[in-house]
Amino acid sequence: MTNQTSWEPKIIAFLCTWCSYAGADLAGVSRFQYPPNIRIVKVPCSGRVSGNMILSALKSGADGVLISGCHPGDCHYISGNYFARRRFGLFSNLLDFVGIEPGRVSFSWISASEGEQFAEVVKTVTERVKKLGPATRLVKKLE
């Protein structure tokens, strides 16, 4: 099905509209190159991202998931990312516990002025997922 040499990972990125999405925008406007493997889903706040969404992405065939929000203290809704940080900390540990490879699901803080950092994060995440190969765990195969 997927040939290792021509295989390119699909990565779903949940970006908060106020910081990370604007950061991605800035990366584009400033012509920073980054791998075209990410598919961006704009969310109001990183606090909006639930475990359901992350697992749903993996189930539907994403090879990696990136969740990015404002830096702590910069949340448009004051504290959304603080709550998100507690939940993601537990969630990434739980995924690790059940045997999901570390690196499939990544988290980052990117502000609206960090276009270059956004490009860097996407590069790192894509490389990590490429190294892991196509996702096989928690991926639902339709017969």
């Binding site: 189930k59 603080y82 739980l94 995924l95 516990f97 790192t124």
Partner: protein
């Protein structure tokens, strides 16, 4: 010489009668005997006569906190959705509570599912509940017809056998590692207060799995949950699962498909456990009701361990403190965040 449980049963019946007769409570939530050996049923006594059906033994494994919010709702006088709330105090209910159950009640109060004013908590220190599975495993091809309980031993008998076993050998896993057998909040005490217990490694089982490699852990996860039939008994027995629409019943969006595909089963169990993060008191009701003998408690136990390690709180122990996931600190650990962890930064 009556056993400890017989004494407690008597005390519970007397107290229930007293509360129901004086009309202080409209209902008393406890347990009555089930129809099979080693079973009990949750039971609501609504009159002093019914109080005689209440029992207390090592097989009271369900968590009564699960039935409490609905019971209180049923005690309110009937009214339409737009009718104003009735004037005056609403009827109260009394409920039996051990350490873990009382912590669940405290969480329900915190989450606005219960009104503290309407609950009379009747505290009983838990001596550990017996796991039917463990007893049955000792008599593989025999049918157990009767079980008699003394303080430290159980006499199991069937068609042509009778054997004594040590009670502590067949106590449930969660009770073995329990640290707080005594209720954290109570209005009335039954029996002797329980002692706080010490355990150097309450998370032993979790640690064993953590020490495996990622691939081995994945294999373990697949094997452990392979037999799940998605009956949702674990969800239904759980006092934390009170959402009107559970994520597994959602069809738009359909987070988890309604099948027994290993992926769907896996997603269900990961998310079910995750929803209990920082709230699970390890009461063991989920495992006790599982018809397929799945040890799903290990996932919630892992979350309890992390909540303790990362955010320093134990579910329901402090009725005053906010729940760990509904609060935050500005300096919470964030090593797992790509842009914050030292190692990832160097690689970037």
């Amino acid at each position: 010489m009556p056993t400890i449980n017989e004494k407690i049963t008597e005390e519970i019946r007397a107290k229930a009668k007293e509360l129901l007769e004086s009309k202080e409570v409209a209902a008393f939530l406890g347990f009555c005997l089930g129809s099979l050996p080693m079973t009990t049923r949750p039971f609501v006594a609504r009159s002093p006569e019914e109080a005689d059906k209440l029992v207390w033994n090592s097989f009271c494994v369900l968590n009564p906190a699960n039935y409490l919010p609905e019971l209180l709702k049923s005690l309110e006088p009937p009214r339409g959705p737009r009718d104003p709330a009735p004037k005056g105090p609403l009827p109260k209910a009394a409920v039996l509570a051990t350490g873990c159950w009382s912590r669940n009640i405290s969480i329900q109060i915190k989450e606005n599912q219960l009104d503290r004013e309407r609950v009379v908590i009747v505290g009983v220190a838990s001596r550990g509940k017996v796991d039917q599975r463990k007893v049955k495993a000792r008599f593989p091809d025999q049918e157990i017809l009767k079980i008699e309980e003394e303080d430290h031993k159980l006499t199991v008998s069937g068609q042509d056998f009778e054997e004594e076993i040590n009670r502590w050998d067949v106590v449930r896993g969660n009770c073995l590692t329990c640290l707080h057998p005594d209720p954290v909040m109570l209005d009335i005490r039954i029996g002797e207060p329980g002692q706080e217990r010490k355990n150097d490694s309450p998370f032993q089982q979790v640690n064993e799995i953590e020490n495996k490699s990622t691939d081995k852990r994945w294999q373990w996860f697949q094997d452990e949950f392979a037999s799940c039939i998605r009956c949702y008994a674990c969800r239904n027995a759980c006092p934390l699962c009170y959402c009107d629409t559970c994520f597994v019943d959602d069809s738009k969006p359909q987070w988890v498909d309604k099948s027994i595909d290993p992926v769907d089963t896996g997603l269900f169990h990961i998310l079910r456990a995750y929803h209990c993060a920082g709230r699970c008191t390890d009461c063991g009701a989920c495992e006790s009701v599982c018809p397929m003998d799945i040890n799903m408690r290990i996932l919630t136990k892992k979350l309890s361990k992390d909540v303790m390690a990362l955010y320093g709180s134990e579910a329901g122990m402090d009725p005053e403190a906010p729940l760990p996931l509904s609060t935050y600190k500005t300096d919470d650990p964030q090593d797992f965040i790509l842009t914050e962890s030292g190692a990832a930064k160097e690689g970037m």
